[in-house]
Symmetry: C2
Subunit: 239 residues, 2 copies
DNA sequence: CGCCCTACTTGAACGCGTTCAAAGTTGTGC
DNA sequence: GCACAACTTTGAACGCGTTCAAGTAGGGCG
């Protein structure tokens, strides 16, 4: 774990906050790094806040000064993972203009990136499932990571040579992201060696999606497509 | 099968114990009833094991004699809910032979039954999301409730006049159950008044499913259907 | 320099889910 | 009746996440 924060803390001119003390930010990073390391080494449930504090050389209360709860520490994991996913998707997005290739590449890259955390991800996944939790992929707190992820699928669509119905094209990135959440859900439950069932799911589903997307321009299917898009729209309304 | 887990599990087919002592079963029911009542009144997280014990007039430890954990109390909720769902589906299943009507009726009945528990269901949903949890809808412990639920959707299919591709017909109950899990997932996250977005989702999705199922018999779509069924099969393999 | 203000830090304490050794209760065989 | 074993019940105690009143420190201003 390389300390990425030094550069930021050394500069004496921070933009938004009063640039007076960067000491706190150092402690914050220290606690976060320590926590993520222990999560990886021992698992989430087995890592106590007391252990994190002790290992980081601070008091328990100090961790709560920087993080609202133990769960909030995972948000850092999310953010880093999202960045890794984009990086790992680079080759696939640069290598082909074929929609199916691009989608398959990004999905497999996502699984690659998450693979080392399979067992540990499963245990903290339960936190993410609670709708009111800030860790939920649908929560306001997760929206930066979510938007970044949707952006990744926007790149899949926009960089592809596929001819797509314009109305569908608009919705497709978010729909693909939703599908990706489904894949992650499947992956979390996947106990097969190397999660190969998830790989098969991706390889099998991508051609189907590809064909479905291509069919979206057929005039015969226009009413059906419209109906689906209308359903999505009507379901999205309200709050 | 190997029912060695706790002394608390149903002793229905165990050979050894003399069936004389049913006194424990009374206490077990008392604790369960009290717990579910308090969950409904105060919510899951806000109901403490101490409060359940006090309200039931027993010691905390006694609750743990019959239930491995606070989460295990929810299994009772599951079972009852499943029975209620079937009962509430009666009219819809008796009233029409139209596939869409039957499916819509069963789905709405399921939401009706769960509605009183919406806020509390959301908090216990996080337990269900953990793959290793016995509360997971895919777990071995949940298989009785799961099988019963799949059976409900089998009734939807078998009692309907819809003409369905025979291969699809075989898989359809389980697929509909999976879809039902998706609806529940959506419902848990649905914060609109009376969860009306979930109602709209059902009303919008049912005709689409109905049409899709009807199309399954078209010869042109046979290869596509085969491909989908093959994907399901290939993903199901392994463990 | 010295004082203040505020960002930061502390650790005891709280209530929680859970455990467990001990005690109580009850049916059965002698 | 008695003793024994199995079943049931108890509540103090443990370790956890979390809170909070109290303390510390270091830059800015007089």
């Amino acid at each position: 774990m390389t300390n990425v924060t030094t550069a930021a803390t050394e500069s004496g001119d921070e933009p938004t906050p009063p640039a007076r003390r960067a000491r706190g930010e150092q402690t914050r990073q220290l606690i976060l790094e320590t926590a993520l390391r222990l999560f990886r080494e021992r698992g989430y449930a087995e890592t106590t806040m007391r252990a994190i504090a002790k290992e980081a050389g601070v008091a328990v209360g100090n961790a709560y000064y920087y993080f609202d709860s133990k769960e909030h520490l995972i948000q850092g994991f999310y953010d880093r993972n999202q960045a890794d996913h984009r990086a790992a998707s680079g080759p696939a997005l640069a290598g082909s203009a074929d929609f199916a290739d691009r989608l398959r590449g990004v999905l497999h890259a996502g699984i690659d990136v998450n693979a080392p955390y399979h067992s540990f991800a499963a245990t903290f996944f339960k936190s993410a499932a609670e709708p009111s939790s800030p860790l939920s992929p649908f929560s306001r707190e997760s929206s930066p990571a979510r938007d970044a992820s949707i952006g990744l699928f926007r790149d899949v669509v926009e960089g592809s040579s596929a001819k797509i119905d314009p109305e569908l094209r608009k919705e497709l990135p978010e729909l693909l992201w939703l599908g990706w959440m489904g894949v992650i859900l499947f992956w979390v439950y996947d106990k097969s060696p190397d999660q190969r069932r998830t790989r098969r799911l991706i390889d099998g589903a991508v051609p189907l999606i590809d064909r479905l997307v291509a069919l979206s321009r057929l005039r015969v299917l226009r009413p059906a497509l419209r109906q689906i898009l209308a359903l999505i729209e009507s379901v999205r309304r309200d709050d």
